[in-house]
Amino acid sequence: MRKTLTKLSSNFLLLMVAAVQLFPLYWMLTFSLKDNKEIFGGNTLGLPQVWQWDNYTSVLSQSRIGFYLLNSLIITALTIMFTVFLSAMATYAIVRLKWMMSKIVYFIFLIGLMLSMHAVLLPLFVNLKPLHNTYWSLVLPYTAFAMPMAILVMVGSLEGLPKEMEEAAFIDGAGIYMIFFRIILPLLRPIMATVAILTFLNSWNEMMLAVTFVSNDNYKTITVGVLDMVGKYSTKWGLIGAGLVVATIPTLLVYIFLSNNVQKSFTAGAVKG
């Protein structure tokens, strides 16, 4: 009897929390499909009476949201590419190559785990002034701040992998570069996916640098574009809602298709940290 009761109450709690976690998102979705008459006229919580798909067509055609999405995509893709490859290279040097400073260099990267972008906002604002309003003003810092975690998890992964394949390749006469590209990179592929997912979410969602380093509309990312859009539409909630939903879709898609990998990526960082 007591057992069923606790079971019932735990299930109830789980359901309640699920509702609380989902309800704001449900609400965003519903008001993105309403007109102001409904939103301000009493039907704020229910499903739309008339489904205003127009909100989406107008947001997509009138605002530059598609353009902002493209900018975010370019910046994020460049960041992921540089982070994954440069970190893999550094990881190989730290774990497999023999040199005196390797421990020290690894430690230097680990210091980065304690730093945050806030602490360098002003110096970067000053140093990167010539690059403001380009993709590079964001790709440079996003990559720099993604590398410590990337190197941490990659080093952990490569240390656990056997060296036999590399040794055999050496005996067959392969050079060090060939071994890195033909053996190490494929071996690191699973952990590279983890790093890519983490880097994707961090740089896609970043706001502080994006809002300060880019003022030219042509280079704005989606997070900043959303802020602009909200200002522009101010009282047209339906359009704002549609914009917010469109801006959320890319991350949601990544999550839907890679849900388990996404969750694993977040825990990988925590276990090693």
């Binding site: 735990s10 709690l13 789980l14 929390v17 699920a18 976690q21 309800f23 704001p24 008001f31 939103i39 301000f40 704020t44 919580l45 440069l86 970190s87 290279m89 550094a90 190989y92 040097a93 190559l97 023999k98 040199w99 230097i108 990267f109 304690m114 730093l115 945050s116 806030h118 602490a119 360098v120 002003l122 110096p123 970067l124 440079l140 720099a144 701040f145 050496f170 005996i171 050079g175 060090i176 570069y177 979410l201 969602n205 706001m207 502080m208 997070t223 959303v226 802020l227 909200v230 909630w237 917010l244 801006a247 999550y255 849900s259 996404v262 969750q263 977040f266 825990t267 925590a270 276990v271």
Partner: protein, 291 residues
């Protein structure tokens, strides 16, 4: 092979791109911040060496102290409200319920959505006339509690805490859950054979076993709270009347509104030091717990 692995050129080829990138974009600027914090500088005219005066101003600045207090309130709310709730959820999920995976997936959704979008959404949730919160209060007969959640200095801080806690519950839950999953199942089986109840298993096995992960999650929660920016910046900009000011928003204002680069840098350095100190404190506390 030994010789190939000591090839200086190859070592440079592999490590220098990442190292130089990291050094110039992350490490050098930290040193710059430290140097700027000793200056009186507006970013345009020549700077004047100011010594420790920015720091002296900082520790006597009421607004700064208030911002630190606010960030500690956020940290406290995370540690004492968000984390216990996350732990409870993780323990229930780990004890085996139907739809385990679905719950995990749902709880995690807010984590991956950009804070900017979450903040915009909560602006609408808190809207005084048409917001979801006031509407729900009306609907359940608690209309007298309607409020201007973000414009009333008395409740704004609370209104800010809600989305912060809401967004990251799933993250901490996942950390605990996956740590609990990695405990060898035989331990649980043995306990069950001995007739231990679910609560006993949770308090005597699961929680002690995942203590390292709890430590990590407390550190993440505390450090994350001290660096909170996006949600505060979009929702309140530190207002009304500085009621929700945190060190990062204060620093942002000092740079981009008041052009006080030296003072802003002192705040930046403070944030790093504060994070380090609190990380060490958490480490110490957990070391005591583990003994």
């Amino acid at each position: 092979m030994e010789k190939a692995l000591r090839d200086k050129k190859a070592i440079c080829f592999f490590v220098l791109p990442a190292l130089l990138w990291f050094a110039f974009i992350a490490l050098v600027p930290i040193l710059q911040s430290a140097y700027y914090s000793l200056l009186k500088w507006d970013g345009m005219t020549a700077s004047v060496f100011f010594g420790s005066r920015n720091y002296l101003e900082m520790i006597t600045d009421k607004l700064f102290l208030k911002s630190v207090l606010n960030s500690l309130i956020i940290a406290g709310a995370s540690v004492f409200i968000q984390l216990p709730l996350a732990m409870l959820l993780a323990l229930i999920l780990h004890s085996g319920v139907k739809g385990e995976g679905a719950y995990r997936t749902i709880y995690f959704i807010p984590v991956i959505i950009s804070s900017t979008i979450i903040a915009q959404l909560f602006m609408k949730v808190y809207h005084p006339s048409y917001g979801m919160l006031n509407n729900v209060l009306d609907a359940i007969g608690l209309g007298q509690f309607r409020n201007e959640w973000l414009a009333n200095a008395d409740v704004a801080m609370g209104a800010l805490l809600l989305p912060i806690i809401w967004q990251y519950i799933g993250y901490h839950m996942l950390l605990y859950y996956s740590a609990a999953k990695s405990i060898s199942p035989e331990i649980f089986d043995a306990a069950r054979v001995d007739g231990a109840t679910g609560r006993q298993i949770a308090f005597n096995i699961t929680i002690p076993q995942i203590l390292p992960m709890i430590k990590a999650s407390v550190i993440f929660a505390v450090v994350g709270s001290l660096k909170a920016f996006d949600l505060v910046y979009v929702l309140t900009r530190g207002g009304p009347l500085h009621a929700t000011e945190v060190p990062t928003t204060l620093m942002y204002n000092e740079i981009f509104v008041k052009n006080r680069y030296g003072y802003a840098s002192a705040i930046a350095i403070f944030i790093i030091v504060e994070c380090l100190v609190l990380t060490l404190v958490v480490e110490k506390i957990f070391k005591k717990l583990q003994d």
